[in-house]
Amino acid sequence: MDIINEEIQRVPQVLGKKSFKKVTDIIAKPSESPAPKWWVIGLLGSMSLAALLFSLIGYLIWDGVGVWGLNNPVGWGFAIVNFVFWVGIGHAGTLISAILFLFRQKWRTSINRFAEAMTIFAVICAGIFPGIHVGRIWAAYYLFPIPNSMAMWPNFKSALLWDVFAVSTYFTVSLLFWYVGLIPDLATFRDRATTKVKRFTYGLFALGWNGSNRHWMNYEKAYLILAAIATPLVLSVHSIVSFDFATSNLPGWHTTIFPPYFVAGAVFSGFAMVLTLLIIARKIFKLEDLITIRHLENMNKFILATGTMVGYAYAMEFFMAWYSANQYEAFAFINRAFGPYAWAYWIMVSCNVISPQFFWFKKLRTNIPIMFVISIFVNIGMWFERFVITVTSLHRDFLPSSWDYYIPTWVDIMTFVGSFGLFFTLFLLFLKYLPIISISEVKGVMEIADPHYYDHHTEDKQ
């Protein structure tokens, strides 16, 4: 064990001999050079998709939920599927940041900022869907305990309300965590800025940070505490999302395995999404020295582990359906695998359970094109998982007379596509204007950051 630890310790976090100035230069480069062509085209494309999203939301509010493909037994369709999909993606960010920080996994420094940003943008996309799914959007304030003329309070015993609190707390805490991490880097950008607008904007959000070690003391404590409270928070959020399903009495939803199964699935999909985006960003911004192949390999190990857990959960659901001897439960699962939506089920199984198994081989999990393809497969598979859970459980009601087949309308599909537009708009803006790697943290884990380093290397200067 010690040998392995030592081996891990010895792999340098930053490849090559770099000075502090050099690290700042590399990370600040994208925000200081003129916008590349791909970025402008990408931003225009995703902004038009985001515009599509907002116009379809307008259409939905104007016309009512009838523009969606919902029917009588299937009252939860794309909106809930997309919500759970996006919230799931939003899990890797805080997990990478918080849990890996607590376990002193130094390799996290090169990817945490990136993953946290992804979390926040994914949760923004997620929050849209239940918001518009309420139907009468002007009554959405019922969700919050605001004194009103009905003398009514929210029902705190409802899983749907737990979800409101869980997701909004998760968003707020993730945002604070991300922003606190950003403050020193924003100050770095402020002090490098050449134009007045940049100096003002970065300066405004840097809050006058000056790098004082008296401040760093409180800052590090704050970051540690945030990490410590964010860790159980990450685990709680998707557990609570799973309660939306698990506390109901519907066969296929009413399962005690749901909370851990959802958390594993969320981490799985979140890591896959981070990986997809990271591979692209690493290539484009030439960050190969900071985001090393070892970082990517570690992420693939996470994907393998969580993917296998998800596969175990799929199997366990079937086992419970048989072992409980409950015929409704048994029907729900046989119907899932062989019923009208069998196509969706088998897409899910092949993407989520089979594709990550390739990561057992070191050759494959260190091969960038292969991990890119697998990460895309996992993203697709995890969307289908939510589709399978939501739609196949609902479409066969207790009453055969109300059985129906759910087909999304063009509005459903384009709203989902539009949510990717919003996500990538935010993401591209982030790539261009904010430090995508935590500058101060990367410096903190460099060898020359340790005062003891100079005991042996007197010839080195910073």
């Binding site: 029902n155 707390t169 940070w209 000056n210 790098g211 004082s212 800052y219 404590k221 709680s236 200067k461």
Partner: protein, 176 residues
């Protein structure tokens, strides 16, 4: 022209730790060091007591927990009792999720805004920003400042003390 104190620079983290130890040992208290990242062990060298932030977080935690419980018990259990899902009006197990989330939320608020308060952030205008060389502090520079409000401070003696201690580029922090 208001004089605020001296600002000086060193080359690397190790020298900053050594210098702050010397400054601290000479009895200065109103001094500060600046670096682009937190330096391991510098708080001991500077003689800074441990941060009180965890206590603020704990306060936030307790407030969040109480707010959540009071809110739920009062709204669902006292103000308007509605029989729902066969649960008691005050059903503590059903209140766990929201209680947990609000506890975390309040702890996070107290931690972040507590940190802001302890560090007096935001302070957008600071006299030290008048020194051009100080821009390096967020990139690759290691600085130390001694405030003129310190009891041991003397314009000439402190200057020569810093020089002797190995500090470079000693500048005056001034404000018009």
């Amino acid at each position: 022209m208001t004089f605020h104190g001296y600002l000086c620079e060193v080359d690397n983290p190790k020298e900053l730790v050594t210098l702050s130890k010397k400054v601290c040992d000479s009895g200065y208290t109103k001094f500060d060091t600046y670096s682009p990242f937190p330096i391991h062990g510098i708080d001991k060298a500077m003689g800074i007591p441990a941060s009180i932030l965890p206590w603020l977080s704990l306060t936030g935690c307790i407030i969040g927990l109480s707010v959540a419980l009071i809110l739920q018990i009062w709204t669902n259990g006292i103000d308007y009792k509605i029989p729902l899902s066969g649960k008691p009006y005050i059903s503590l197990p059903a209140f766990i999720p929201v209680t947990f989330e609000l506890t975390i939320l309040f702890t996070a608020f107290f931690t972040v805004f507590g940190m802001f308060a302890l560090n007096k952030l935001p302070t957008w205008y600071q006299p030290i920003f008048n020194n051009k060389s100080f821009k390096k502090a967020t990139c690759s520079g290691f600085f130390l400042s001694i405030s003129c409000l310190d009891n041991n401070f003397d314009e000439i003696k402190t200057h020569s003390f810093l020089e002797k201690a190995g500090a470079k580029n000693i500048e005056r922090i001034e404000e018009k």
